[in-house]
Amino acid sequence: MPSTHLDSTFAALADPTRRAILARLALGEASVAELGEPFAMSQPAISKHLKVLELAGLISRGRDAQRRPCRIEAAPLAEANAWLERYRQLWEQRFDALDALLADMKAAEKTARKSRPRRKS
């Protein structure tokens, strides 16, 4: 796992405004001006956030000098998403396995109690 890369991804995503910008870009590419409209945000404020997102590799900017459209880069997001989703899935799997273990333990305790009353396991 390239952890420094993930660090910058997480840092960029820790800000709700930047997540909102990414959410807008998930619908399709947009220029800074276009991003400013639905967000009711000043262009410098938008540009500041775009810089962070760009450095984290979460977006790229087009070469058109006038528009410089922003588009979302799916790979780092997918990487961070997959990592955390795996974490959650891991706990679900563990707890499912614990269910099975507890069923065995309950059965064993029942058997032990039948043959030897008051035995504590």
Partner: protein, 170 residues
């Protein structure tokens, strides 16, 4: 497979993540499964393809624990810490540090077990050093409220959190 409860993830405070799960067993059994190495081995596995190679726990206040998962290509992943409180059959508190830290500093995990009608509710709280650290883990599209997926980004945009953030900057 029989699943006795659904994993729930919530955010009780700025620095915490809380996982809640109900088990169809009395809590003294759940406590044993959490504190005895030979039982932990049976459920505390790693991600797919990883096996639990080291599983050691000295379940008493001040005791250490350590888990190491490994896979066939030689990669290893370890974590461990110190038990701060161990009160059978209801409470287990420990520090946790990953060998390859995916967050700064150390976390403190607290497990509280409560029993009702033979079923046990397990509450696992992990507290991070700061809100920022916790947010690095949670406040991002895939896991805001944890269940939110990347494919629901657009939905999230229409929500209160996005609106508040935008209002702040306006």
């Amino acid at each position: 497979m029989h699943r006795s409860g659904t994993l729930q993830v919530t955010l009780p405070s700025d620095r915490e993540i809380l996982m809640t799960r109900v088990f169809d067993a009395p809590r003294h059994l759940v406590f044993e499964a959490l504190t005895r190495a030979e039982l932990l081995r049976r459920w505390f596995g790693g991600p797919p393809g990883w096996r639990l190679d080291v599983c050691e726990i000295d379940a008493r206040a001040g005791g250490k624990y350590r888990y190491v998962w490994a896979r066939d290509n030689g990669e290893v992943m370890g974590m461990g810490g110190t038990i701060l409180e161990c009160v059978a059959p209801e409470r287990l508190v420990a520090t946790e540090t990953f060998d390859q830290a995916w967050y700064e500093g150390q976390g403190v995990s607290s497990i509280v077990l409560s029993e009702e009608n033979g079923k046990t509710t397990l509450r696992l709280t992990v507290q991070y050093d700061s809100k920022e650290v916790r947010d690095h883990v949670l406040s991002f599209p895939a896991t805001t409220g944890v269940e939110m997926g990347y494919d629901r980004l657009a939905e999230w945009l229409a929500g209160d959190e996005a609106r508040e953030a935008l209002a702040e900057l306006a």
